[in-house]
Symmetry: C2
Subunit: 360 residues, 2 copies
Amino acid sequence: MENRIHNFNAGPAALPLPVLEEIRNSFLNFNGSGMSITEISHRSKGFEAVLNDAVTRTKRLLKLNDQYEVLFLQGGASLQFCMIPLNFLSQGGSADYVNTGTWAAKALKEAQIQNKPVKVAASSEDRNFCYIPQNIAFNKEAVYVHLTSNNTIKGTQWASLPDTGKIPMVIDMSSDIMSRPVDMEHIGMIYAGAQKNIGPAGACMVIIRKDLLDLCPGNIPTMLNYRTFAEKNSMYNTPPCFGIYTISLVLKWLEETVGGLEKMDALNRQKADLLYSFMDNSGFYKATADKGSRSLMNVTFRLPSEDLEKRFIAKAAENHLGGLKGHRSVGGCRASIYNATGLNAVSDLVAFMKEFQSQA
Amino acid sequence: MENRIHNFNAGPAALPLPVLEEIRNSFLNFNGSGMSITEISHRSKGFEAVLNDAVTRTKRLLKLNDQYEVLFLQGGASLQFCMIPLNFLSQGGSADYVNTGTWAAKALKEAQIQNKPVKVAASSEDRNFCYIPQNIAFNKEAVYVHLTSNNTIKGTQWASLPDTGKIPMVIDMSSDIMSRPVDMEHIGMIYAGAQKNIGPAGACMVIIRKDLLDLCPGNIPTMLNYRTFAEKNSMYNTPPCFGIYTISLVLKWLEETVGGLEKMDALNRQKADLLYSFMDNSGFYKATADKGSRSLMNVTFRLPSEDLEKRFIAKAAENHLGGLKGHRSVGGCRASIYNATGLNAVSDLVAFMKEFQSQA
């Protein structure tokens, strides 16, 4: 097992071991080409098959109908924050944003930098973003509603998506894409930096409903226009080949080993339940998010003191449990339990937490 | 040797075998972390060391003084095409562009899309871009002069850079960065998609002189502002970690195995001379670029007929010589002989070319 540890990193994060092994085993000679996946032409049949495989598997896993295009871009979710208002608000109109924490606020800020008319439809800032707002009155004229489905820093997640009626939702799913099935009914676009649930840093998946492409203007930079990527099957210029390749293998693992998103969801719930239940009953570890808003992906929690937290994180690392430090902006602890972090990792973590508590 | 072939791809292209082997050998456990390089946090000490190593080696190899910052972005050179005018022409002024072919023209077009005042200072379009313009009269008031140092499609390269006096050059070196020493005297910025000479697709190196950062406005999208990357050591958001890691290994190979850019240059000249001399004397293969403008990186050539070219490319592939097809926009043949394509690969290619000619 090459002395691997249990990886609770928030992103870049754990990848399925069989995926890493396949990459390693074929790294000097991809698919009989005599070249590494990093050396083959993006215009070759070999790479085209990889790209199309990633697209097809995405469509199957999320049960997308023909109205959606699956694209691969670069620049992470952060570049999407600026592309979304640039593409969708150039022909007029305004957008609603829901502010559920750091990343949602950054998405909003990039619309404001461009002087686009945007409104905060709801916010959970009043209680330090420890919950997901409910019963939101969206502006019926909004061009889109922007949401962050899972908040990695604050440890909250939308248990179910709101009903926005005819307004398409544009959702940053960077940290929970492919972790559960998604009801696409009101969704205009999903975007996700790959480095949490589906691949390495450096590739960004965009799933866009075709009617939204009509909003994209012709006079913006080519590389910032969604139509460029839709018209060229993500290959206007050289795409992030290694990232797309890794994504295709992760999606294959999701389909063929895990058995699809319903099964992945069930396993993810089992992992999260194990950890939250233990903490709720511990009288020692305290989850920071409200119960109805807890993230199944990023379990944020505190110990009775910062000193104990420091010792907890250090001691955990000695026990091959890595990445448990909370985000530097909020402190505390965080166990990110994305798809590739298995139930055994969570069991081992809970066992360690019990022991640490008994000795504290 | 895992049945590897000689790789003459134009990009993504060959990488040094020792680099690929090191990536493979540590792929499940990077530097004792118990995690893959694709799984470690970009905020970890382990990754920070990788990033700083890539920056330091770049500065050493190119003999950069303290006035230059080395940054890593995403989006390839194509995203730079729009970022350059957006950052440098927002406070007024115009820029000169030299049109030496497809990529230079695309860079120009992205400035025009933004309605920035740009001028074509020189062009080699009159003879289908088979030469590099000389004795160019640049506009003395230009904010910058944009050049493409090597033209992958047309097979031309600036033998030496022009003297632009006080006007900083902004140079797309995607296909010849780190292939030879560079006189930085008049250079304001160098940028390069990694996938030809320094790494895999998905990372873009930007070397920028600090005074140019003062031109970058405050009211443009954060991810499109060079100052964002300079102020955050390329880590405003998650960088393309695997790409930067691979680049650091390629630069290590350049320093420690090759012995620096003077030695790399000598070897590259030897490779190119071998191929061009053979063709010039063959009476069969005909290089397409003018003699004083020939690329040391991309050797473009024709055979007496398109039918022969088709057979040549197919027969070469059977002989483990891959990637010899010319760009789809120009046809013909092309042997890209970047840093990682060794002298033995070129010798084997020449031997094959002799045999093919004798049987044609």
